[in-house]
Subunit: 173 residues, 2 copies
């Protein structure tokens, strides 16, 4: 799929078919997640890929009401920030770098016909702590976001306006 | 350009030719920035597009040594978080949403043959404050990142490894 088309036509998909996503497709999605950029090329993230139905349900319990689509997802990915790798002089770039990784995965999925929905975790610390407990994460790993993936069983129109004039300024505020 | 190719072959471009990027290409890049997702569809960002050479140089002064490529860029975009629109119960999602917008712009540019480099601003507060002062921004706008854009005058190989086995976990940490 053309890159501009993938970016402009992506919508959040919350209902998925039962068709399994092939392992090689998941591999490409994860490679996209790793292709950055990241602050000083720190690559300060890690990914947990989950297909087990019981674990997906526990991730839904942990990540608040918007995370319900995980219960019907083919697989989920927990994106974590890795404080061990994060830029020491400004560690919170892990939030930016985790977001880039997640968006790369979502766009790669779209291009491969796989739907997804981004389920926010950080900065909602109850979700961060619940996922940290569920996966018994080391202190260096901070849950950033969860993404639910699967082949789409719905095709919603984009919710966002194409253009918002008042969001763009030229040369000055 | 194919979306997977755009994502996997993107590299940071720091040297640009003098060829101007057409307005319609800039428009498509900005539309990509607006195409989300964002937390509760808040679209909590704004963009300042700069072509003026003097202002680009001042942005480079404000954003630290890595921002030097702005001095040779065809245009720069300052991405701001908009606290007025941000999700009231967890405002810091503006950091995630600004990152998504910036990465969409970078990938759209790549697909259109335009090179770019992401210049981190937040969480380095000296940069945040210097850009806020330069553009005399209202309190509701938080400088997030600056991106330098232009047609590439260099073609560096990707710096990142294609795959890092130890970054991926299956089913559990």
């Amino acid at each position: 799929m053309d890159a501009i088309e993938a970016i402009l036509t992506r919508t959040s998909i919350r209902k998925f078919t039962d068709q399994p996503v092939p392992d090689e497709t998941i591999h490409t999605i994860l490679r996209a997640g790793m292709s950055g950029p990241s602050c000083v090329n720190a690559r300060d993230w890690s990914f947990i890929v989950v297909r087990d139905r019981g674990t997906l349900n526990k991730m839904a319990d942990a990540n608040g009401r918007p995370a319900e689509p995980l219960r019907g997802a083919d697989f989920g990915v927990l994106v974590c920030g890795d404080l061990e790798r994060a830029f020491p002089r400004a560690q919170e770039y892990w939030v930016v770098d985790g977001s880039i990784a997640a968006q790369n995965m979502i766009l790669a999925a779209k291009a491969l016909g796989v739907g997804s929905v981004w389920l926010g975790t950080w900065p909602q610390m109850n979700r961060v702590e619940a996922l940290r407990a569920l996966f018994n994460l080391p202190e260096t790993q901070v849950p950033h976001s969860v993404i639910a993936f699967g082949y789409p069983a719905e095709h919603p129109a984009p919710r966002a306006p194409e253009w918002e004039e008042d969001r763009v300024h030229f040369e000055k505020w």
